[in-house]
Symmetry: D2
């Protein structure tokens, strides 16, 4: 396998995670405190949410911390999911004034991404979807999303826009919910700077096999812009530590990330509400490294032979012998 | 069917719902404002969370509102799920000092329930469970829960303690997750004032058929203390409006609630983050009423015949003819 | 709504359903006996599996029955899922000799479809997928499927090929598993006579909202070739009677089928192992009719207003008033 | 860990697996051929289905093969799931004549179990459940099951009856679906020779954590009679090779099997339709052994410390260091 991969983390993973029963499981941290944790976590890059983690006002301060700790900007998300204006949809909203706010939010996020030295904007329109039958006009919503994304892509062709698909949550149904829907949308948007962000947990949620999703993103336009890593039970986006649930699956997507030529960040998106943050991130990275070493012991030729043969029992034998002490 | 059923609502459903992406989708309301909404919602009872909705300090004020609007205390929950002390467990905690806080929380909730004129405490130990393998000693946890519940039951035998089982969330695995686990636990606790609170959505989450769960609660000790009503997709506790997903299922549990002699509140536990609260509650109640009228048109004899015959196509014919205009 | 819709049924639904525990729950029927049942079921069309329901040898006899009972050929499936040659894949097989057999199977199915007066072939490659990690080369499989489907489409451009996507079963993961993957594949195949067959249960399995799937099929190439109707719990393809689980959802996809201009068959794909076949089909049709009448009572203008407003509680009120007696 | 564990296999796993699309993926084998495979599979015991794998007529022949190959009778199942009499239920049937046939089937299975030198009967009433609302009278069904199981238990107190719970399939809802329902039922049956058979895949299906299920079976009467081993995706009973999906989970239930004192067979219940049977069984056993060695490297003290501490990141570190080469 390629010798080195780069890790990043959502800065929110370093902060104070909450849910609908408790707004924060830990303590609120200042930006400086979160950066101090980031510096211990074994990562090179960070993901920010515009307007929450980084604002027009504090961008200089944030950039200062990045320089101080040698951390790069992996990507920035426009806050399409956490502002009251957008609770019934942002880029697919039935209200033109709301759509305009979403356009503005994306443009500002593009600008601030550049200020932070980044070149990737993560579009996760979490509130764009629906909860009930007869709540939405799907045709209008999809047509509008295409138009908004085209305009956003043209605002600065040097900045890439990655669609982070997610099956569900906060809406019962998300519009951009699977890798294939994302790729269909990319095709329709038809801009080279629009692609896909694959979150392993979101793929699992969608009953996708992440390795196949990587292959599809490769095949239909070579559009993988970023990988979010974690693990989960298939029922929900629990954002668990890497390797904590799926083993062969994790080995497999690690292999396919290399096989399809992915060379971006491996960005941790975990939710360590009841664990030490740095410990959870570092251990996730250690599992990745141990698994990649195991793949190296097997070797690319042997793995390609497995794929050619299609004998799961034999594949499991080879893997077992390479993994276990 | 019995002519009248009583409705109640979780007062939280009347407030400002939040999730992990947004702490509040609406505006924070004062107790007075929530009561004013409750008065319009077509309900007779309210459910409170101790320490959040009702405190030792504001209990008098709350009681005043109840009297003003003619609302009764359906039940009160000790806050075992939203305090930082309990994020790794309350009544099953590995830390004796935490368990003591949980015991104290329950006792105080029993006391305040009586101050509000109520007699039912809703035990939902949402943080008692686990997220990862090798995180918990299940035997110790279960043994401890039995002991804590016995002690709580003995604190005031005139107050009933209902275990509100929930499959998951906020933990990946809850201990008290299904109707059968709840009944096993009730048997072990062995106190007449300990029973079960069945939330329809929680039953659906657990892939239970709520009608069968009602039958089991009847059969194994006649232990149903309260019904929480709503609807959901089976993957998550979305707390949707009654009737919005499941139709025959809803008709069936409505029938079985009567058949098993349930005569408590039908307490709405919905999450109307993107709807008018009063409208969502009232419409849920209207669906219940319309469905109960349809059951009346069919009549108990015809329904008992369906159960005897076991011919789903014929049952659907009878129901169709009774439901549709 | 449009006044009349046409119903069809999979002839297998009329026969002897089996599963892995029992090869047949009823008795094996002759073709004549199945047609006699079809004649009572309130349908106009039939779906066949080539090599099982209709063969080169018995095609004349089958056509005779069709003429006798006035039944049309809705569609024919090549048997890519029930022949031992194909248990590890057909149109995506790693073995060229197997792929050739799959090509041949499809061509023969095209031929026999024409003999039966039909013009639609249903491609359901049920064994094309995988069960284990490291079992398959996804890129090769997808590339091969595109090529095979192009060749099949060119064999007779007057015959349409519909891809019946299915999330899973018999493989843990199917390749053609969702509406969006199907549409991506159609785009890549790029032939006007290649489209999608949407089975309501398969959409539910994939956590799709069938109404949105209809919209996507409309939007991305207007490619809906056939609708398979039934109902199911979301965990599995139980092939239940229409209306037995989902109510508002069913109303919604019925509306969207009209809204997107679908005018093909509504083909029943149910599995009435423990019911009278004719009764189960007829009652499914009656539910459809009753639901379409309810939609008519609401009226297209009111429904379009619902979609514009996006207020689920209000929508449920309007629907409730139109549905219930 | 205890040095040696005993493996067994369902003889059906050695035969010709089928599903609803293909009655057999392999070739039908004679008893002799299946035994010859069993002899190569690294197992000591076999599980039989009465009337299918072993009959009153061939019991002598079967016993001969067992002696020849040194294989023991792990358990025998009455065929409550694959006979047409029982398709709408056996021990919970609404038809007294059908219930009598189920009683008879169980008694005969007890008799033949003794002829084979066994002492465990596996009660899996797969058809006892329901598919549709309003299809069943749950109270009557549960009451009847208790009575039938009491009678069966009393027929020969020296033979143990294990209830193999399964969440679903072939029915949409099984009555005996979870470990807790099984234990409730055992309590009600109240016979020392009635207990539980835990199939790992069935536990996963039920969103149970098998380690906790083992703890519950221990705690509520020490009733674990047999362990069926395999792995699966949580949506369905895919009967996959051990270790192919869940890693930490598998390590955890292996530990808890020892911790709770289980010393019976580890009976493989896999479905190797597209693999070499012997290879699939042997490799499943090798994964178990490798995982148990890893647990030994960690050591019981360290694991008990993990459970006491409840720090998943730390636990994953210890496990990672013990597992990986």
């Amino acid at each position: 396998m390629k010798k080195d991969i780069k890790f990043a983390a959502a800065i929110s993973a370093l902060g104070n995670p909450g849910d609908r029963f408790m707004s924060g499981y830990k303590e609120d941290l200042t930006a400086g405190e979160m950066f101090a944790l980031a510096a211990q976590a074994g990562i090179d890059g960070l993901e920010f949410v515009y307007g929450r983690d980084v604002t027009d006002e504090n961008a200089g301060e944030i950039k200062g911390y990045m320089d101080k700790y040698g951390l790069r900007c992996c990507d920035v998300l426009p806050n399409l999911f956490g502002r009251k204006e957008f609770i019934k949809g942002s880029i697919s909203s039935r209200y033109p004034v709301t759509v305009d706010k979403a356009r503005e939010e994306i443009r500002r996020t593009i600008d601030i991404t550049k200020r932070l030295g980044g070149s990737l904007v993560n579009i996760w329109p979490g509130q764009d979807g629906y909860d009930y039958p007869f709540e939405s006009d799907y045709l209008k919503a999809w047509e509008l999303m295409i138009e908004v994304l085209q305009e956003a892509a043209d605002y600065d062709p040097a900045v890439r826009l990655g669609l982070e698909y997610k099956f569900k949550e906060p809406r019962v149904h998300s519009y951009i919910s699977t890798v294939a829907k994302s790729l269909l949308l990319c095709n329709a948007v038809d801009r080279p700077n629009v692609g896909v962000i694959l979150d392993i947990g979101h793929a699992i949620l969608a009953y996708e096999n992440a390795a196949e999703s990587l292959a599809l993103a490769k095949m239909f336009g070579d559009r993988l812009f970023l990988l979010h890593i974690n693990d989960t039970r298939p029922d929900w986006d629990w954002d668990l530590n890497v390797g904590s649930v799926h083993f062969l699956d994790t080995l497999e997507w690690l292999y396919w990330a290399d096989k399809t030529g992915y060379d971006g960040y491996y960005t941790l998106d975990i939710w360590p509400a009841r664990m030490d943050t740095v410990e959870a991130i570092r251990e996730s990275i250690e599992w990745i490294k141990a698994m990649r070493r195991a793949l190296d012991r097997i070797g690319g030729t042997a793995i390609e032979n497995m794929l050619r043969e299609g004998n799961p029992a034999r594949a499991m034998k080879i893997i077992r012998e390479a993994v276990f002490r």
